[in-house]
Amino acid sequence: MVNMTLVPGGELSPVPETRALSAGGGLAGLLKACSLGDETAFAKLYDATAARLFGLVLRTVRDQAQAEEVTQDAYLDIWRNSARFDPDRGSATSWLMMIGHRKAVDRVRSAEATRRRDTAYEAREQAAPFDQTTEEAHRNLDAQRVRRALETLTETQRGALELAYFGGYTHREVAIMMDLPLGTAKTRIRDGLIRLRDTLGLEP
């Protein structure tokens, strides 16, 4: 998607949001500023990452109002814990998405969300996982790159990863949903993530 995005350390320019993010190092700097109480830096951090984090949360919780609530909760945690971000243990993007993902998973697994959970429906919905994306994401070069990387996974690896990551299901639940022997889903998830990592050229 093309937004007027404030590039970290740069100026206001029309750039694809994820291109701005791929600059990477800027986010760690913004987090550092946040840890010192810099609310302007936090606003920049939000602008550079919100569509990505909100999209992830929305994909998992599926409900717009709940996704907004969870995203808000995640960003407040990001602010609160900004001094505890350790760049030696992973990238800022990875840290932010992990917080958003954990919050989304907590939400869908909580009793509050029970009424929205229908395993059979979810399983059908998830059958064509990566075809459900927005037109904007399709246009996005980074999305295409990730999509191509996903195509290198086996069908089982991709399906298990999809159910676990976007669906918020545990590997045991995934095994049942996909009729896999118990203990197999976790292996498929790991193998799929490793292949994704290696295809994307991320450091092991």
Binding site: C34, A43, A51, F54, L56, Q72, R80, G90, A143
Partner: protein, 261 residues
């Protein structure tokens, strides 16, 4: 679960596709396995890239709400390793529950909790009697915590405000250690007999009049599991036997109820 098994859980752990018992076990392993720590970091980076395929702009009102709220939230201090350190370094960046979340979020949660079905099985006199027991407060570690990497479970066990509640169940025991300041609780079970075929032991935290699921504990001679959810606000914890995979609300009579009050 041997080391090979636990290592194969790295992918599921990296993307939160584990239950609480597995999370606790994996984190205990992770603390001493630099190979797994590196793998987890790289797999999380890979998983984070998946969010590039689901980009969706949030409404502008969300930005305003977030920016409004942070101004009233204090940034937590960095993790330090001096003897006075209140917070030992986490192996993984934590996403703590938010006891200090803004009033709007909290009130929404409270409203949902009020709408949730009341817990029938706490109403009985037997349950009330069970709740009347326990409540022993215990401060096992009063000196500073060592400057080592601690899992979330270990942090609770070592917390200065750790409270201990114990319950005997025939030959088995269930001990809850709760740290209100960490908003977390850990259950330690001993001699828990195997659950019936196709059943599991599910954990619950009592929030108001509602039992909120808090994970699972396996059978066995000794197990330690971090409970999921806000322990600080809970009035008690329970264990029930549920169908494999667990239930959203307790469906069978409790094996044990432990009161925090």
């Amino acid at each position: 679960m041997n080391d090979d098994d636990i290592h194969s859980l790295s992918g599921a752990y990296a993307i939160d596709a584990v239950d609480d018992a597995e999370r606790a076990r994996f984190e205990a392993h992770l603390a001493g396995c630099s190979q797994c720590q590196a793998e987890i970091a790289s797999l999380r980076a890979a998983a984070g890239e998946l969010s590039l395929t689901t980009i969706t702009a949030p409404p502008p009102s969300l930005r305003a709400a977030v920016l409004r709220d942070i101004s009233s939230i204090r940034v937590l201090p960095p993790e330090v390793t001096s003897e006075a350190a209140p917070a030992p370094k986490l192996v993984t960046p934590s996403t703590p529950s938010t006891p200090s979340a803004p009033a709007s979020l909290e009130s929404k949660r409270a409203e949902r909790a009020r709408r949730a079905p009341l817990l029938q099985w706490l109403a009985g006199a037997a349950a009330a009697a069970a709740l009347a027991t326990g409540g022993l407060v215990w401060h096992p570690w009063s000196s500073g915590t060592p400057a080592v990497q601690l899992t979330a479970t270990q942090q609770v066990l070592h917390a200065k405000d750790a409270e201990r509640f114990q319950k005997k169940l025939d030959a088995a025991t269930a001990t809850i250690v709760r740290s209100p300041s960490l908003n977390k609780a850990v259950i330690i079970t001993t001699n828990l007999p195997a659950a019936p075929e196709g059943k599991v032991y599910e954990l619950w935290l009592q929030q108001g009049a509602t039992m909120v699921k808090a994970g699972f504990v396996p059978a066995g001679p000794s197990n330690t599991v971090l409970l999921h959810g806000n322990a600080a606000t809970a009035a008690g914890a329970g264990i029930t036997i549920e169908p494999a995979g667990g239930s959203e609300t307790p469906t069978l009579p409790p094996v044990a109820l432990i009161s925090f009050v």
